[in-house]
């Protein structure tokens, strides 16, 4: 029997960036908040011996325990979906702070074009340009979101400089850009000589000592090179457990419970009344009644919880109707590797978001009239620090093992550089998420099923941008560059990126979207579903700057709703 607990104003499901920000903002307003996080409590104090590549970088100590829960995957609807038994393609977060603990901190704002992608593309290139793509406007413009972006950047202490082709800013970055290194300088010089406009990547690693609007003090980044996949022992990384959660607790209004895995949003068909959760250690079950339910459990579980709780209309891939599970997108990642026989770089030094970027081939910053794809991507060099197990970059013709592999992987550890792209990913009718018919999690609930493959749009974008990254790399003067591979089928095994999007998308109409531009569910006005799950497509940047902006927008909506009620948009 589940134990019913005293009612609270708001219950938050999952405490990463989205949940942490909303907890802080609601607590500040005097609302009583219960934050339920399935993983453990953790913070800077827990990263005393964190420079351990095997434990954190390869065995993924800070990420989701798949023995309890995973997703199933297939490339297309006629295949049998099978469980993602091991982490690979993306690394789901678990524990206080979510993925915000072990992210890199590349913190961009999506382009104005992203928010109005359908109307702008059709206006400029005609309806035929978007044939087969299930794109839609987001129901909010960049200008409307601008102040929320800034709120997040202040909370996260983002350091950077404005790119000429990026979105216009009302305020300068809260912190200066990261240091220039021979690697970032080399990229910029090459990009400039090709007529592009490089700038220092906006960073969530503190370029200087910083104090945010919540009084959180963050130390300057030490460029320690154990950043992505690791927690920061200095508290120098923008991390929810440093930036927002301590303040949330200090308000005295926020009660965060760890090891609390939410299994159901309880509702009466119109409104939610609370959530059910299991203590994953003692296995006790609880019901937490609440006036408002805020779902911030990342793309996968935002979608799955709504489906298993039967809230909102499930997406139907045959007809393209329904909304929960719709428009799952990922990221397209063309890039180039260059090998410098005569030079050695300090590749083992770095910081998660130390890098340089160009926007010349992002969004609609270049003419697509004669191209067979829309959108593009931001192209960057990222000096996050090579570590020896993960980084074995070798020229294409090198065998995978044996003496030659050894020789090249040793030689090029400090002599290879790579350029990468965060390429936009467009939704299509047959890429989606629903519930798996056979596989279950540790609590007996169906796993989320992902049906996803790359499309012609993706392949065309990949090939086109790949030639650009080759050109920049060649201009950097390597002895050789690697042959570019073809983008074939999406593969769940090799790590690509944890930039999954969609499933509970936002928009202006309830027929085509699940939440409005306050991230409030059309079908249940006291439920707010926040995260990259709200992206109707994925843009040409890392997502979290935009997730943060949407979290601040949602927090404003939730506070408004707590006073006025009703649909906010």
């Amino acid at each position: 029997m589940a134990k019913t607990l005293p009612k609270t104003d708001a219950v938050i499901v999952g405490v990463g960036w989205a949940g942490g920000i909303i907890a802080a903002e609601l607590g500040k307003q005097g609302l009583k908040v219960v934050g339920l996080e399935r993983g453990k409590e953790r913070g800077v104090k827990d990263y005393y011996v964190v420079h351990d590549e095997l434990r954190y970088g390869i065995r993924y100590e800070l990420m989701q325990d798949l023995s309890k829960e995973t997703i199933t995957f297939r490339n297309h609807g006629k295949e049998r979906a099978l469980p993602m038994r091991q982490l690979g393609s993306f690394l789901l977060g678990e524990g206080l702070g979510g993925s915000g603990v072990h992210w890199n901190g590349h913190t961009f704002r999506f382009l104005p074009y992203d928010f109005e992608i359908k109307s702008q593309t059709v206006k400029k290139y005609g309806e035929s340009k978007i044939k087969g793509l299930q794109i839609q406007d987001w129901g909010i413009t960049y200008d409307e979101l601008e102040p929320y972006f800034y709120e997040f950047e202040k909370a996260a202490g983002i350091g950077g400089e404005e790119g000429e082709l990026g979105p216009k800013r009302a305020d300068p970055f809260p912190n200066p850009p990261m240091k220039e290194t021979p690697i970032t300088a080399r990229f910029k010089k090459a990009a400039k000589s090709l007529g592009m406009k490089p700038y220092q990547m906006p960073s969530g690693n503190m370029s200087e000592a910083y104090e945010n609007q919540y009084g959180a003090k963050m130390a300057p980044c030490q460029y320690c090179a154990f950043c992505e996949r690791f927690g920061c022992e200095y508290g120098a990384k923008a991390d929810p457990t440093v930036a927002v959660i301590p303040f949330a607790k200090e308000t005295g209004n926020v009660d965060i419970r760890n090891f609390a895995n939410v299994t159901e949003i309880i509702h009466d068909g119109k409104k939610a009344t609370g959530v059910r959760y299991v203590d994953v250690q003692t296995k006790e079950e609880f019901i937490q009644p609440a006036e408002m339910v805020i779902v911030t459990s990342y793309v996968m579980n935002n979608t799955r919880l709504l489906l298993t709780s039967k809230l909102g209309s499930p997406y139907n891939p045959d007809t393209g109707t329904g909304v929960i599970g719709k428009n799952y997108c990922y990221q397209i990642l063309p890039g180039s590797a260059g090998f410098f026989d005569e030079e050695q770089f300090n590749t083992f030094m770095g910081a998660g978001a130390l890098g340089a970027t160009v926007d010349d081939y992002n969004g609609d910053n270049f003419d697509h009239s004669d191209l067979d794809f829309i959108h593009g991507g931001s192209i960057s060099i990222n000096q996050s620090g090579y570590r020896p197990i993960q980084y074995n970059m070798v020229p294409t013709d090198t065998p995978k093992w044996g003496s030659k592999f050894k020789e090249n992987s040793i030689k090029y550890f400090t002599r290879a550089l790579s350029i990468g792209t965060q390429g936009a990913s467009m939704p299509v009718q047959l890429n989606y998420m629903d519930l798996d018919p056979s596989y279950k999690d540790a609590y007996g609930l169906p796993l989320l099923r992902m049906t996803y493959d790359f499309t012609e749009q993706d392949k065309n974008l990949y090939n086109y941008i790949g030639k650009i990254t080759d050109n920049i790399m060649k201009e950097m003067g390597p002895s050789k560059i690697n042959d570019r591979q073809q983008l074939e089928h999406y593969d769940i095994v090799p790590y690509q990126t944890t930039h999954n999007t969609g499933g509970v998308i936002m928009g202006a109409e309830p027929e085509t979207s699940a939440v409005n531009n306050y991230l409030q569910m059309w079908d249940a006005e006291n439920v707010f579903v926040v995260g990259a799950s709200a992206f109707p497509h994925n843009g040409g940047y890392n997502p979290t700057g935009t997730v943060g902006a949407l979290a601040y927008r949602a927090a404003e909506g939730i506070i408004k709703y707590s006073k006025e009620g009703g649909l906010l948009a």
Binding site: E53, L54, F73, M84, R85, F348, M349, L354, W401
Partner: protein
């Protein structure tokens, strides 16, 4: 060589080892146990390697050089031979065995990774497409049991000799057949086994020495990787390549 002769030879070398090591205590020799634990570090001629004398150059006992998973010297010998082909000793520096990679793998198999404790292992199991990842019902330690045994069987069939006694090129030929999925195993594909073996070998070369491989940080030194350093803030802008003496996790507790 007949199977009977092979058996004799391996017992022979074990006996030689026991004699050489002076470890034979009355009544203890029986079965394969003694050779199993310490014979792991044996050279072909039966003499103990330097590490085998229980020092790591600092008059300290290298307690980590003890198997926690493997119980059978023949199996451990196959592993030793295989990892050395994947990461051989050559003019670039030590190979997998000098770096204690077999002990690294052994310890990993005995723990959480070898038992897939943080992975989804519920059925039903189906082979899956090339894009759906690991779908074997076997845990990694079982994959190694099956895979190493199959290396031996395949070797005996093809070259009429145990895997560890083959020439390097012959061992490569066999490993390649496994890599290319030409060998049928029970419960797992030979390619999956090979890929795990390869990945684990590289991990053993470069993981922190706390895990028993990357002996004396020699793996890191080959790559000019300085291991754990607290900060590069004063060097990050340097135009010159900076050589830094490596540090391991051990330095946290020193």
């Amino acid at each position: 060589m007949s199977e009977h002769e092979q058996k004799q030879e391996s017992t022979m070398s074990r006996r030689r080892f026991i004699r050489n090591s002076g470890l034979v205590a009355g009544g203890l020799v029986g079965g394969g146990i003694l050779g199993g634990l310490i014979g792991a570090n044996m050279n072909k001629d039966g003499t103990a390697t330097e590490e085998n004398t229980h020092t790591n150059g600092h008059d300290q006992v290298a307690y980590q050089q003890s198997p926690l998973y493997f119980t059978n010297p023949e199996t451990f010998g196959i592993l030793q031979a295989a990892v050395e082909r994947i990461y051989p000793k050559d003019e670039n520096g030590p190979g997998a065995n000098d770096l204690d990679v077999p002990f690294f793998i052994d310890h990993q198999l005995a723990g959480s990774w070898g038992n897939n404790t943080r992975e989804y292992m519920q059925g039903p199991f189906f082979p899956g497409s090339n894009f759906q990842g690991y779908q074997s019902p076997l845990k990694r330690h079982e994959v190694f049991d099956v895979g190493l045994a199959a290396l031996q069987t395949y070797s005996n069939e093809k070259f009429k000799k145990p895997f560890a006694e083959l020439e390097g090129e012959q061992q490569d030929e066999i490993l390649t057949a496994f890599e290319e999925d030409q060998v049928k195993l029970r419960g797992v594909t030979s390619r999956t086994f090979f890929n795990i073996l390869r990945a684990a070998t590289i991990e053993g070369v470069y993981a922190d020495p706390a895990y028993a491989g990357n002996k004396n940080m020699e793996g890191w030194k080959m790559k000019d990787f300085p291991g754990h350093q607290m900060s590069y803030i004063n060097q990050i802008e340097s135009e010159k390549f900076v050589k830094i003496k490596p540090n391991s996790l051990h330095s946290y507790t020193k």
